[in-house]
Homo-oligomer: 407 residues x 2
């Protein structure tokens, strides 16, 4: 898709908004006052409903029908990058989200502080130590482990027991260098798994990672809880075009969670550090409105409540976003889309494979097909059911940013 | 699709039913009391209608839009094997359906007893000789022709004038070995076509087949009607994963016709010999319910009546299946789908290219979109129009048998 549109891209002064309610898609409540309605159907969303009636609606499929996407693939799809082509490790996403710069010389790893007793994992999360405590430990690790075999080692603290580790090699790392399984056995009472290369290209990385782990274990050994590290998501940067290269768009991400800021940065968006408060985020967006062409606005909690199985809270969060919408749209975007990165039905308490409702507000659409914004109403819409990678081209076309194909 | 889902497959104790009414899709009756209604719309199907109202509906496209599939491609698509990738010769299907074992050393051929006069084909089916007579001739052929040039030759009688021939070579046959055109000129009053290799790999097979045909003609030359053989559908086993390998499913086929049992066995289903009586078939299914995860239930006659152009009988057969449905579903499948392998509109008296209605009964669907089970109502459904190979992944997802893709 990107190969097709790249030569067609033109720049203009249009502004595009992509408002993503994470995990937006849902399923009917099996009982209670909203029985038979999805979260989005049950929510009072007068503004979104009006946009759906006037706009172009449909449903998008993040990876392929029946496939439940993780958050990374879900967002890559929205951004127009085929998630089957660009498979991005959790290590990269975590590191980017923690504001770590990642280059093609780097291998990124997610770490967990863990509790080890007599060679066995007693707690995979070291009792979820407070972030402040993790920060101190991570600083100590950084002080003691800076370089191994000519490879620069950088530790950054995440939330609670989580951290990211970057191994910066002297030269570009060949594809396959990241092929190392997690050391987390996923169960307590077991030994951590050894660091083993699955490809010849990964041998060097495995060797360095083993030494880093040994030295880190030495540093941590006197700790009561966080006396060991589990390493997961060994990954390297995929070779992908930036938003600017692919679409000619200068893009700003309004997102509070590391993971989503990470994906946004991966495609070259600027992603300032934010708290998740809608008002504060709005102010940042407004303050930057003149400097960017594309605005990715991410609302995490819709997904979180879905994962908690909390139908009511998910519904309320959607309502909160709806109330906030008029103010946001007053900024005057030429094209705006409202959607999710995947479905997270409260009934399933997890991400799911169900297509995600999407609406596009733009001047040149048919409209008058959907009665409101919901999974079922979007089925009646002019966009049909389409792969998520098709959304960005639609936004560009609606913004007058795509030339004619062929003469 | 299978490459994408294979690493995501998990096993659990769920039971999946795939009920296939062969040739289910239809077109409006041009006249009569059901004028304007399709066979499925005209049929009284209260149980399927109820399932369609609650379940997920759509239409599937066996090969590509506008392409009319044969029975082999139709079923392969339903089973999740891309029929453009896995092209399976009629010889293989016929042989498997006649309970012949086929290995990668084998070339399978369909044979027709034919009547030859003065070097020209007088009857391509030898007057459709009774199966009993064919059986005797085939036994005689087997007695006289057992081996040619070190290749084991096996004949098995089918229905009436039909038989299958297996050439078992000493080693694995390279791809392309089956590239030999049918000898059937498709018209009477013509000479049979010569056995000619279309690829270098097929030379050896062609040489053996010529000798087999010469010897068979010698054996048959005194027969009044069945004095010659026409050879069709030279084919070899494609390299395809089994249902268990692809999906982690132990699968049972409830199918009476050789062709369908053949396709089922090709993907590793167990396919006991059955008569096509719904009650008997139900008993076999019930008796095996504990031993399998997936049940393919095939009803042939819906297609047969469509091919006869018998709208009324096709409608009645669908109604019979509907009456049988509650008893079948009482077994308690976690996920059930009802569909066809292709359309066979009575108005066309043949297979057709029209998308096939499908419903999925499962706990995690939107539902409440279709008013009943029919081609037109399925168009309103949440599944949209999708390629048949997408059905198996949907069933797996609905049965909780697919993990998340990516982090």
């Amino acid at each position: 898709m990107q190969d097709l549109i790249r030569p067609l891209v033109v720049r203009n002064s249009s502004k595009i908004l992509m408002l993503v309610m994470d995990g937006l898609g849902g399923l009917p409540a099996p009982e209670g006052p909203d029985k038979g309605k999805t979260e989005l159907e049950a929510a009072e969303t007068p503004h979104m409903d009006a946009l759906a009636r006037e706009g172009a609606c449909g449903l998008h499929v993040p990876v392929k029908p029946a496939i439940t996407p993780g958050s990374g693939p879900g967002h890559l799809g929205l951004f127009g990058y085929d998630p089957q082509v660009y498979q991005i490790g959790r290590g990269i996403l975590e590191a980017l989200g923690l504001d770590m710069e990642i280059k093609d010389t780097d291998i990124a790893i997610r770490g967990n502080y863990a509790t080890m007793r007599d060679g066995l994992i007693e707690d995979r999360r070291a009792g979820r130590i407070p972030t402040e405590e993790g920060k101190k430990l991570t600083a100590r690790l950084q002080q003691r482990v800076r370089e191994v075999d000519g490879v620069e080692v950088t530790f950054v603290q995440g939330m609670e027991h989580r951290l990211a580790i970057r191994l910066r090699f002297p030269g570009k790392m060949p594809p396959g260098s990241q092929s190392i399984e997690d050391t987390d056995p996923q169960e307590t009472g077991k030994e951590p798994l050894p660091i083993e290369a699955e490809t010849p290209e990964a041998e060097r990385v495995a060797g360095v990672a083993r030494k880093v782990l040994e030295e880190a274990a030495q540093v941590l050994k006197e700790e009561e809880k966080a006396n060991y590290l589990l390493l997961r998501g060994f990954s390297q940067l995929p070779d992908m075009p930036s938003f600017e290269e692919a679409y000619g768009l200068r893009a700003l991400a309004i997102a509070a969670y590391p993971m989503y800021r990470g994906v946004a940065k991966l495609v070259g968006m600027r992603a300032p550090d934010l708290t998740g408060d809608l008002r504060e985020e709005f102010d940042v967006l407004r303050g930057n409105y003149g400097k960017y062409d594309f605005f990715f606005f991410h609302v995490k909690k819709v997904d979180s409540y879905g994962e908690d199985g909390n139908f009511e809270a998910k519904k309320r969060k959607i309502e909160e976003v709806d109330r906030f919408l008029p103010k946001l749209l007053e900024l005057g975007f030429d094209v705006a889309t409202i959607t999710g990165d995947h479905s997270t039905p409260s009934a399933l308490r997890s991400h799911s494979w169900h297509p995600v409702p999407v609406l596009i507000k733009a001047p040149y659409v048919l409209g008058a097909l959907s009665q409101g914004f919901s999974e079922r109403e979007c089925l009646r819409g002019e966009l049909g059911i389409f792969r998520s990678v098709g959304l960005m081209p639609l936004l560009l076309a609606n913004a007058g940013r795509l030339k004619k194909f062929g003469a």
